[in-house]
């Protein structure tokens, strides 16, 4: 009783003090968090990298990259630790990898925290706009002018992996700023079964479909086609964009930022019809969620007549341990052929690959080391060594070198495809645009949506994303 009386006597003022303390704590935490947000406004554009490389550290340093988990990531780490450390023995290169589906999120959530555990972000060309607009990567325009032989590159390759605002297809704007340098070039290759359809690859898209149809009919258990259809990453979107390009369509009008009416014009609808009604029936049952690995598995197990995949991911197809097509690389190559994509109304092919971009939040010594690595990497002899190590270089001299052309049967395909490349939209809204396209194309391919309605929905929804910048609330839905 005495205790409760005491509590009653003491509780009122003490409770007030406690409540006030809790409120102050909460307010202090809130103000601290708000304060951080307030500072960000001042750094909303990409900070500039130094034009010349300052003095490098002599202390041990780990130069970290972030990429997604695939064979080129391991190749880069091995190559850099073997070659770059000859020049910089105090440096260790670490390529951190995440699953492909988490790649964008893994980089941009760290950018959002204004603190990264990587020094070089390996960004897809389409991520550049988002990173530049948010001030996440360094502007390296002056650095490139002073340190890189820009004339040694096909201008579009240099622009595609570094320039913002986005370059027009096939061109580079000399006055635009650069935010990255090429790391790995890539495009789609057509993989075909020479033993089933003959040595000569189909030359047109229509011919390719009819050859695949015949091959499927003649070879029970083997599907005519295998290609990316999944709704994750950019899988189904790249497939549609490729067919769209080949049939003369356009993804948008970059000058007027118009998608609705451009993407879903007659050529766009024809491309969607070809994809869903002519190509999809030639694929394996249940292949509606296939991406890189599944397409490779189908080819390696002899389950597809013709397949489409990224060149950089095709190396494993020649590994006898992973293939049922032969017990040696030569036996596999007797059955598999690699060719550039067939043309139809145009000869466009998708631009793949990625560039190197320096994190704005990395420590200064690491940023300097990152710039030094990029300068080193773009030298002619290093690019050739990178080609021999399994990489796809971007310098023209490296692309035509025997080191590159003899390193893999698909490398000639890449060299021939360079002048034919087309990219997607490189805008800050890219992640949402590609998700809209992925989900709708995937729905059309899997019978969840009428193809015409799917394309119209893509155009409408993407247009609304581009137009929604001034909207009061509800952005992102």
């Amino acid at each position: 009783m005495r205790h409760s009386q005491r509590m009653d006597r003491l509780s009122a003022p003490r409770r007030k003090v406690q409540l006030a303390t809790a409120a102050m704590l909460l307010m202090a935490t809130t103000v601290a968090a708000c304060g951080d947000g307030g500072d960000d406004g001042a750094t909303a554009s990409a900070p500039k990298a130094p034009a010349t490389i300052p003095e490098l550290t002599k202390d041990p340093l780990t130069l970290s990259f972030i990429w997604f988990d695939w064979p080129p990531a391991k190749a880069l780490e091995d190559f850099a630790n073997a070659e770059y450390t000859k020049d910089r023995p105090n440096v260790t290169v670490k390529v951190n990898t995440v699953p492909n589906a988490n790649w964008h999120d893994a980089m941009f959530t760290q950018f959002a925290a204004r603190k990264t555990d990587f020094d070089i972000a390996i960004l897809d060309s389409q991520h550049i706009g988002e990173a530049v607009t948010n001030g996440n990567i360094l502007d390296i325009t002056d650095f490139v002018k002073n340190n890189i032989e820009v004339d040694a590159y096909n201008p579009y390759l240099l622009a595609a992996y570094g320039q913002f605002p986005q370059a027009e297809t096939g061109q580079r704007d000399e006055n635009a700023s650069l935010y990255g340098l090429p790391l790995l070039g890539d495009t789609w290759t057509m993989i075909y079964r020479k033993d089933l359809i003959g040595d000569k690859p189909p030359q047109t898209w229509d011919e390719m479909i009819s050859v695949a149809e015949k091959c499927q009919a003649d070879n029970p258990g083997v599907s005519g086609l295998a290609f990316h259809q999944a709704n994750g990453s950019d899988a189904a979107a790249v497939t549609y964009n490729t067919v769209n390009g080949v049939y003369g369509g356009n993804l948008w009008d970059p000058k007027t930022r118009k998608i609705d009416g451009v993407l879903n014009d007659a050529a766009g609808h024809e491309a969607m019809d070809v994809l869903v009604n002519k190509m999809k029936p030639l694929t394996a049952k249940g292949s509606g969620n296939w991406f890189i690995d599944e397409v490779n598995a189908a080819v390696a197990q002899g389950k597809a007549c013709i397949a489409f995949n990224w060149i950089a991911a095709s190396g494993g197809l020649l590994d006898p341990k992973e293939s049922t097509l032969g017990s040696t690389r030569e036996q596999i190559l007797d059955k598999l052929g690699f060719a550039t994509l067939p043309s139809q109304k145009t000869d466009l092919v998708p631009l793949g690959g990625m560039g190197m971009h320096v994190s704005a939040y990395s420590a200064e010594a690491n940023q300097v080391e990152a710039l030094n690595f990029m300068k080193w990497f773009q030298q002619a002899d290093v690019q050739k060594k990178w080609a021999a190590a399994g990489g796809v270089p971007s310098r023209t001299d490296a692309l035509s070198s025997p080191e590159f052309l003899n390193a893999g049967p698909f490398n000639q395909v890449y060299a021939d495809s360079v002048p034919r490349m087309r990219d997607m939209w490189n805008v800050p809204e890219y992640a949402r645009l590609v998700d809209i396209e992925n989900t709708n194309v995937n729905a059309a391919l899997n019978g969840a949506k009428n193809p015409k309605a799917a394309l119209d929905d893509i155009a409408k929804e993407q247009q609304s994303v581009l137009d929604s910048s001034g909207r009061k609330g509800g952005g992102g839905l």
């Binding site: 005495r2 205790h3 005491r6 006597r9 003491l10 704590l25 909460l26 935490t29 809130t30 968090a33 947000g37 307030g38 960000d40 406004g41 750094t43 909303a44 589906a101 999120d105 941009f108 959530t109 950018f111 959002a112 204004r114 988002e130 607009t133 948010n134 001030g135 996440n136 999944a230 709704n231 994750g232 394996a284 049952k285 249940g286 292949s287 509606g288 969620n289 189908a298 389950k303 809204e429 992640a431 949402r432 998700d435 989900t439 709708n440 995937n442 729905a443 059309a444 391919l445 899997n446 019978g447 969840a448 949506k449 994303v465 009061k472 609330g473 509800g474 952005g475 992102g476 839905l477």
Partner: protein
Amino acid sequence: MTDDAGQVAATPPPAPGRSRRLSDRGLAVAFISPALLLLLAMSVFPLLWALYLSFTDYSATRGGRAYFVGFGNYTAILTSAQVHQRALTTLIYVVGAVTLQTVLGFTIAYLISRRTRGRGLLTTLFLVPMMLSPVVVGLFWRFMLDAQFGVVNSMLGSIGLGQVEWLTRQRTALISLIVVDTWQWTPFIMLIALAGLTAVPKYLYEAASIDRASEWFRFRTITLPLVWPLLLIAVLFRAIEAFRLFDLVYILTNGGPGVSTETLSFHVYKVAFLGFNTGTASAYGILMVLVVIVLSQIYLRYLNRLKEG
């Protein structure tokens, strides 16, 4: 000062080695403070911060100032056809999965409770799926349900049935999600139901036997009414869990085909991390929490009424 003096006089002298200034209450506060601060920092503050952001157009990647948009985010979410579609998918999923889990879980528990030998071993075996990470479960079910190379279609093929596109067709994809979730979480319902079943007094059954009551009558009038309240709590937990399902969708279908298996949580993830529309995502999250709180309250009231009855 007077209070302090009074307090010292009223309480027994402190134990040797204990500071004379630290009262029992002070000691309690000292012990509770770390946990309280952690709770404030990790739960209360983020919730209040999310509430604040939900009224703004803030984007975590863009940074800069957060502009007040009033209830703009909330009205946009509540009137969005896309959100309605995800809400319907989530509802079908929650009802389907929880119903199946309840029926199966209770049935298994009932059968186990009737065994006298091997009950412990059986219970442990049934609990194994629940102990696995949902990501691991999702991955191996993804392989098993693969239309071309999966063991499920291989087994169906060996008995003469055709291939089923488990994860790439609109209907089968949602059913697959329900089946996989049921495989993992039926043991949870089973465990709680088993606890309820073993707590039913034996004398009730003995009395019923003396009255020559049938098995069905005993189940209907003794077992079910006594286990029902406990079972309803299990259903509540499962429904809340199922409502915020994310991991299985992410691994098994990625929301596809199209967006047909996208749940509300998966959609929030896309809003938050694809476009980094932090303000909208915060409002979306707050609305989801509100839905759970309101439905739970209604449910708990029903449960209390049931107990009182």
